[in-house]
Each structure stands twice: as C-alpha cells, then as structure tokens.
C-alpha cells in the first residue's frame, strides 16, 4: 500500500509538540484519544480501588471496616464510575478515536472540533460526578425507583453528571458514523473495512439512538425528586416499573456499547497473531450490526422478578435467547481463525484468547439468566454479579488491555517490556477467575448481592474471592507500571512490529500529524495473511 511515502520526508510525529495548550486545544484525533485514554484509565483505577475496599469488608461475615451505609455508597460509586466514566466511553472514545481515521485512511474524523467538544463535555460530566462525591448516592448504579426518590443522599448531582456524559457519547457516535460513511480512502469499500471499524460503526449507532432514552429517564427522575411530578410514584399515579423499563431500554444496548468495540479489537488481534485471514469476515461484520439491532428488543430481561406480566416475561425471555446467535457466530469465527494458525503468544494475543474464554462463560451464564425459571432463583444473587463481571471484565477489560498492548507501539512509538507484560497478564487472569468464579457458586447457593454482611457458611468462598481481588489488583498495578515505564525508557518502536497488513501500521510509529502524507489507495482487504503476494511489497 502506501509504504513508499514514509521515511523520505520525515513527517512530524503527532506527539512532538508539548505544553498543556497543545493538548487541551488539540483537534488531532490521536491526541484526543490519549486524553480519553488517560481519563478513563484514571477512573478505572479509582473505581477499582473502591471495589478492593468493599471486597475487603466481605472477607468476614460480620462488619469489619465499614458500616452498611458506607458499603452501599462504595458499591454505588464503583458501579456508576466504572460504567459511565470508564467502560461506556471506554474503548470507543479512546481507541475508536485513535484508530478509526488511521484504519480507513483518513487524516482525521469528520468533525475534529466537535470531537474535542465531546471530550470537554465528558470532562464536565466527570467533574459533576466528582462533586457528587461530597454527598454520594447509595442507590446502586441503576438508581431504581422508588428508593432513588426517597433516599436522603444526593441522587440529583450524580444523575445530572451522567446526563451530561450522555451528550459526549451521542456526539462521539455521530462523529464516527459520519467519518466512516464519508472519509474512507479510495478503494476502502465496506467489505474491505477492518472489523474494528464495523464494530465501531455498530457501537456508534447504539450511542446515538439509545443514549437519549437514559438522558430523558434521568431527567424524569430529577423532575420527580425536585418538582414532585408523579412519573414513578404509584401514590401520584406513576409506575415504579416504568423507571426500570426506561432505564434498561438504554442500559441493555449500553452493555453492547461496552462490549462491541472489544469484539472489534479481538477481531483485529487474532488474525495478526494467528497469521491467517480472519474466518467468516462478513459473518463477524454483520453480527455486530445484528447485536446492535437485537439489543433493543430485550431490555425487560432485567425485570423478570419485578412484577411484569407473564406475557411480557415470556416474550422477552425468547427475544433474549436471540442475542446468543450473533455472539456465538463471532466466537466460532474467532476459534476457526485460530485453527491451524501459526500462533504467536504475544501479550496482546494472551488477552485476546482470555477474552474468548471468559466472555463465553459470561455469555452462556447470561442464557441461564434469560431463562425465566432459573432467573427467579438467581436474580439479585452473586450469580448476577459474577455473570456481569465475566462479560464486562472478562470481555471488555480484557479487550481493553489487549488493545493497549497491541497498539501501544503505534500510538506512543515505544516498546514495553514483553516479559513483564506476560507475568502481569497471568496475574490478571488468575486473579480475575479467583475473584469471580466463587461468586457463581455463592449465587447458586443463594447469597444475595449488595449486603455488607452475610451468614457464616458463605465465608470460605468469599475469602477466595477477596484474595482473588488482591491478585487481580496486583496484576493491574503491574500492567500500569509496565506500560508507563515503557513510555520513558522503552525501546523505540519499529513501524510495523507484528507485520500487520492494516493501514495504521503503514505509517510511522507514532503516526505524524494528519496521519498520511498521501491518502492511500486501497486494493485489498486487511486480512490477507499467509499469502505470499500480499504480505510484503
């Protein structure tokens, strides 16, 4: 492809300029991506620290370091910050920003200033949520009525913050949709697009279409709290279940806003390290869109035990099983890509393989919960907590770490210590499973979620889980230290350390401002591995 334009003129790397203004006023998608990356990672670590704290409380059945109210506040903050400040913007805003223009052969996104604006809106929302910490809510991240109407804690501030964050999400999605439609390089047809782009496109649609619903829902909640309008209070003619319906109409698609970009990452990492063309390209591409579509039909599977009608429960149970089809299509295609590949166990690949394994457990336990009879037993127990973390941590966070290790040389122009990265991966993997596998068992034994204390017979499994959280914490700490150390004294990264065929590896590491000296002409898809004529020109 466009390899010949590199080296000769020595373009200026995008990281060259320094000074705070060069960052906060930059419209370069790569710099905006870094600002998101730093922000979301910070919130990930903060929310993770909350989790370590209340997991420590659960080491023993009785109270040991905090009262129940503090416990409620901590799990609320853990959930709300993880969901709204880390995982929803997450991969889409950080790696989406960095990769979309590079992968489609564009100089930037379609609306660079709007892009910077989205970041500032994100920051404003984050600041409002930090202010909300002064009198933190204790409702759980879902803000269910009627409790969220009644509690004395400050629900308004934190929901207002989430309301603001929604605009950032919508505008980012809009920007990416237009970018992918309008700025593809000549020859980059839809069916030559890298699968990460398909995933980003599906995610962007969800961001644009689902986010307004949660924004309105939170406004209704604020209106009910401040003006006393009875949307959800039965005494005033409202319906508390309506809140759950509205909330999950966004929040189930939001699960896919969180996970689809990670699926896109896995689809990029696996063919490179298996040295094989991706198996079932179109099936993977369209299953992303199918997931995005079906995700709007299933919201009430979170409400089976809330008193909704049996008719509705049956319909939603059936529709929920449908989601399993496109997700399974992806998993089978990834494993088929691995079949007879010459596999390179790079740290990024280890995370990708972990994703497949852990996400499959997370996804299949979701099928248990979609079955009505099983859900009545498992609802609001630790089974839910385990299921959700296998999807969100085993899925999205593994994808996030995979993406970090995979594109790190391209983004920052440096190499990290690969051996330490592997050790860290091992600790993360073992720690994660030790934390959450026991919670599946605790759930089936009937331990309810969201309590600071528990009967003594659950202690052994809770001890295992808490010890697991320490190992996971140490693993993540090493990941962070290793990647930060690489920035300062890592070796200089080559242009294409993994011999990838994707466009982002055809520009220097780190890429120059405006990415391409000359917009490339694309003649083939990006997955032609294993065929001599395509690998090196």
């Amino acid at each position: 492809m466009a390899n010949h334009t590199v080296a000769e003129t020595l373009p200026v790397p995008f990281l060259e300029k320094t000074g705070i203004l060069s960052w906060i006023l930059s419209t370069d998608h790569k710099r905006i991506g870094i600002m998101y990356l730093v922000s979301i990672s910070t919130f990930f670590l903060i929310a993770g620290a909350f989790a370590l704290t209340f997991r420590f409380e659960l080491l023993t059945p009785e109270k040991n370091i905090m009262d129940p109210h503090t416990y409620n506040v901590l799990f609320t903050l853990h959930g709300a910050i993880m969901v709204f400040l880390f995982i929803v913007p997450g991969l889409a805003a950080s790696f989406g920003n960095f990769l979309i223009p590079l992968m489609i052969g564009a100089r930037d996104v379609a609306f660079p200033r709007l892009n910077l604006g989205s970041y500032w809106i994100y920051l404003l929302g984050a600041i409002i949520i930090l202010i909300a910490l002064l009198k933190p809510a204790d409702t759980g991240w879902t803000f269910y009525t009627p409790y969220s109407i009644q509690t004395e804690t400050d629900v308004i501030m934190i929901t207002l913050g989430i309301f603001v964050l929604g605009f950032s999400s919508i505008l980012t999605g809009l920007n990416f949709i237009v970018t992918i439609h309008k700025l593809r390089a000549p020859g980059m047809t839809w069916h030559r697009l890298p699968l990460f782009i398909w995933a980003s496109y599906a995610t962007a649609i969800l961001q644009v279409l689902a986010t307004p619903v949660v924004a309105i829902t939170l406004l209704l909640l604020i209106a009910e709290r401040t003006l006393g309008i009875g949307f959800f209070d039965p005494a005033k003619g409202g319906d508390p279940i309506l809140f759950q319906g509205f909330f999950w109409f966004y929040s189930h698609p939001a699960v896919y806003i969180m996970i689809i970009p990670a699926m896109g990452v896995i689809s990029e990492i696996i063919p490179v390290f298996a040295r094989k063309p991706i198996f079932g390209y179109k099936a993977i591409a369209y299953s992303s869109l199918a997931i995005a579509l079906i995700s709007f039909f299933v919201w009430a599977h979170h409400m089976f035990t809330s008193g909704i009608s049996e008719v509705a429960a049956t319909i939603f149970s059936f529709l929920t099983f449908l989601v399993a089809i496109p997700t399974a299509i992806k998993v089978f295609n990834w494993t088929a890509t691995l079949y007879k590949g010459s596999i390179w166990l790079h740290s990024a690949m280890l995370y990708a393989l972990s994703f497949i394994w852990l996400f499959t457990i997370g996804g299949l336990t979701g099928v248990f919960l979609g079955a009505l009879a099983a859900d009545v037993h498992l609802h609001d127990t630790y089974f839910i907590v385990a299921h959700m973390h296998y999807v969100m941590v085993g899925g999205t966070v593994m994808g996030f770490f995979g993406a970090l290790h995979f594109w790190y040389p391209k983004w920052f122009g440096k190499m990290f210590n690969e051996n330490i990265a592997k050790i860290a991966w091992f600790l993360v993997f073992v720690g994660f499973n030790l934390t959450f596998l026991p919670q599946f068992i605790l759930g089936t034994q009937g331990m309810p979620r969201r309590y600071a204390t528990y009967p003594p017979e659950f202690q052994t499994l809770n001890e295992l889980s808490t010890i697991g959280s320490w190992i996971l914490g140490i693993g993540i700490f090493i990941v962070v230290v290793n990647l930060i150390k690489g920035l300062f004294n890592g070796e200089k990264a080559p242009q294409n350390p993994y011999n990838s065929l994707s466009l982002e590896w055809s520009v220097p590491s780190p890429p120059p401002h405006e990415n391409f000296e000359e917009i490339p002409h694309v003649t083939d898809w990006t997955y032609g591995y294993g065929k001599k004529q395509n690998t090196e020109k």
């Binding site: 949709i177 644009v208 279409l209 309506l242 709007f296 008193g307 509705a312 319909i315 939603f316």
Partner: protein
C-alpha cells in the same frame, strides 16, 4: 461533494420557510385551544398528533430532511421504529398484568 450539489439544487425558498413557520404557529394555537375543551382520552391523542405533525414539519423543511438521501432517511426513521417498539413491548407488560 455529490451531497453538496444535491442540496443546492433543492434550495428551499424563503417563502416556504415562512409558510411552515405560520403553520407551526397555528398548530401551537390549536394545542392551546384544545386543552380548554374536554374530549376525555382524545385530548392526549390530539395533543400528540399535533406535536408529531409539528416535529415532522421542522424535520422536513427546517432540517432539510425532504431533500436528503436514503441513508439520512433511514437514520431519521429508525428511532420512530424504536419508539413504537418501546411502547408496543411495554403494552405487552402493562395490559397483561394480573391485578390481585
């Protein structure tokens, strides 16, 4: 580029804008007027219909949807489908609840 040429071809005259604006004002008047008469359940139906017509006028003329290409139409109509879904599937709950 194709899109730009397209939009210029169908430049909507200032007269049309004023007509639409006038229609919006009249419809607002209708909403206010209707709210003083008791039609029972129909009050809500009328109010929502009038509001939908106004929204459609704004989208079609002020937001130029009338002259947009297919993709834009799909993105504009898709949320309406979602709204129907939200209402329809919620009905499958509310209308079939067992009240003890």
């Amino acid at each position: 580029m194709e899109v730009k040429a397209h939009a210029e071809q169908h430049h909507i005259g200032i007269k049309v804008y004023f007509l639409v604006w006038f229609a919006l004002t009249v419809l607002t008047g209708v909403t206010v007027w209707v709210s003083y008469i008791d039609f029972g359940l129909l009050n809500i139906v009328i109010a929502l219909t009038v509001a939908s017509v106004k929204a459609a006028l704004v989208a079609l003329f002020f937001m130029h949807l009338r002259h947009e290409d297919k993709v834009t139409w799909i993105f504009a109509l898709y949320p309406l489908g979602l709204l129907a879904l939200l209402i329809g599937l919620t009905i499958s709950d509310v209308f079939y609840r067992v009240t003890p």
